[in-house]
């Protein structure tokens, strides 16, 4: 009971900090999801292009990003990027780039797997009709792959949202950082953690439900 009162009090006093954090988490997630999807798709297509050099490059790219901890990657970009570019770069910018690069590898794998799951006979039939590779991909393979890809991509997005919490290590404004801010101002760790946890839970539950709904509609349209 005592704890709940403290939580309520904390929320009343610092709700703007948490809401700011929530906003940070949302836009950080949105930007990385969008950019990672575009880059990840490009990487998947490079991998499937049949050009050996491209396949090799993407193999290394995906291998490194999936084979090292994401926190290490955040540090890496946070240290390296400001030195590598000739202009001022905020911590936030470095972390966003790192999150995007990391997620792009996972997205690429999801898309590659989705495309490869389409029956090879479909590609062969399209080729045998004299369709150009571009049309084979865009008009025959992709529309079928999307049904494999979207559900898996949804899971990937949820993971990405949770991972934005790692940005708190670098005090980038987002939910986990707002926990730290309030905690260091009040020395109340547990109540602050409960508030942040609750906000994450709502955010992710809503999103998961929305994705489920979307997936079910997709399956319905497939059964026509």
């Amino acid at each position: 009971m005592k704890l709940l009162e403290t939580v309520a009090g904390l929320w009343q006093k610092y709700y703007y900090v948490y809401l700011g954090g929530l906003w940070g988490t949302i836009w950080l997630s949105a930007v990385s999801v969008a950019a990672a999807t575009v880059i990840g798709t490009a990487i998947a297509l490079m991998k499937l292009s049949g050009v050996r050099v491209l396949d090799w490059i993407t193999r290394v790219y995906v291998g490194i990003l999936r084979g090292t901890p994401i926190l290490l990657q955040l540090y890496f970009f946070w240290i390296l990027l400001p030195k590598a570019v000739p202009f001022e770069l905020s911590d936030t910018a470095c972390i966003i780039v790192a999150l995007i690069v990391n997620a792009s590898a996972y997205v690429a794998e999801v898309i590659r797997a989705g495309i490869q799951a389409v029956d090879a006979g479909q590609t062969e039939a399209a080729k045998s009709l004299g369709m150009r590779p571009r049309n084979v991909m865009l008009r025959v393979v992709m529309p079928q792959a999307v049904k494999n890809i979207l559900p898996a991509l949804g899971n990937e997005y949820v993971t990405m949202i949770k991972q934005t919490s790692l940005a708190s290590v670098f005090f980038v404004e987002e939910l986990m950082t707002s926990y730290k801010t309030v905690q260091s101002a009040t020395f109340l760790a547990l109540p602050s953690l409960i508030i942040v946890g609750f906000i994450y839970l709502i955010l992710i539950t809503v999103l998961t439900k929305a994705l489920d709904l979307f997936e079910r509609r997709l399956q319905k349209s497939e059964r026509r």
Binding site: S128, G130, M131, R132, P143
Partner: protein, 256 residues
């Protein structure tokens, strides 16, 4: 009409449509096709028979370059389409293919299955392509299914759709790879009927099949393949009743 289809006393000497020269194909260490040389003439119906694993599918797939030959040449309408520099896409439009597993496009309606390639690759208007698709569907008795998705079709209907889809590109030859092997027995007839009428209309056809009765009836020539080579070839009555090669006789005694 090309130079070598000259009229000889009212009889047309058909020109060579496909010429295969010393065709070899290996998958890694596995030699699948061994030095095949053959010519297919315009209007000819050729059945390819032989045991499973003898390279029949691979042979067909080399003809439209779904498989790249390890060596040798595939000459289609006087062009070496196995060469590195050819625009194979253009030539494939003249070489239809029908697969054992149908491979109809599940995300498109019956009509869209047929109009997709012609509208995308031959600049035919949507309306014209639809009109032509419906004519073809009528011919194979599928017009009432024109707006269905393939998931609503039976195996036999899917295969008829696949044939019509190939025909919509106006190919000069159609390759059939065991078109009835995946069908329930009661549906084999409806698909063979379509192929038979195509053969009668003068279409050049290569068909891999285990339907020996059908092969005997429609073919001008029969190839018997074994171990990656065409062991014997000839008119159906020669192959089926007077096989010279003991392997042919042995195979036929097993399947007939």
């Amino acid at each position: 009409m090309s130079a070598d289809s000259i009229k000889l006393g009212g009889k047309i000497k058909p020109r060579v449509l496909i010429k295969v020269e010393n065709l070899n194909k290996s998958f890694g260490d596995l030699k699948v096709l061994r030095n095949i040389s053959e010519s297919i003439h315009e209007g000819e119906v050729v059945s390819i028979i032989g045991p499973s694993g003898s390279g029949k599918s691979t042979f067909l797939r080399c003809l439209n370059l779904l498989e790249r030959p390890s060596s040798g040449r595939v000459i289609f309408e006087d062009v070496d389409i196995s060469g590195k520099k050819v625009d194979i896409v253009k030539h494939r439009q003249k070489i239809g293919m029908v697969f054992q597993q149908f491979n109809v496009f599940p995300h498109l309606t019956v009509t869209e299955n047929i109009t997709l390639a012609p509208t995308l690759e031959k600049n035919i208007s949507k309306a014209d392509a639809r009109r032509r698709a419906h004519e073809l569907l009528e011919r194979v008795g599928l017009l009432d299914k024109k707006d269905e998705y393939p998931s609503r079709l039976s195996g036999g209907q899917k295969q008829r759709l696949a044939i019509v889809r190939a025909l919509a590109m106006n190919p000069d030859v159609i390759l059939f790879d065991e078109p009835t092997s995946a069908l329930d027995p009661e549906m084999v007839g409806e698909v063979l009927d379509v192929i038979r009428s195509l053969a009668e209309s003068g279409m050049t056809i290569l068909i891999v099949t285990h339907e020996m009765g059908f092969a005997r009836e429609v073919s001008d020539r029969v190839f018997f393949m074994d171990g990656g080579a065409i062991r014997e070839q000839g008119r159906p009555e020669e192959i089926f009743f007077h096989a010279r090669d003991p392997r042919t006789a042995e195979f036929l005694s097993m399947v007939l």
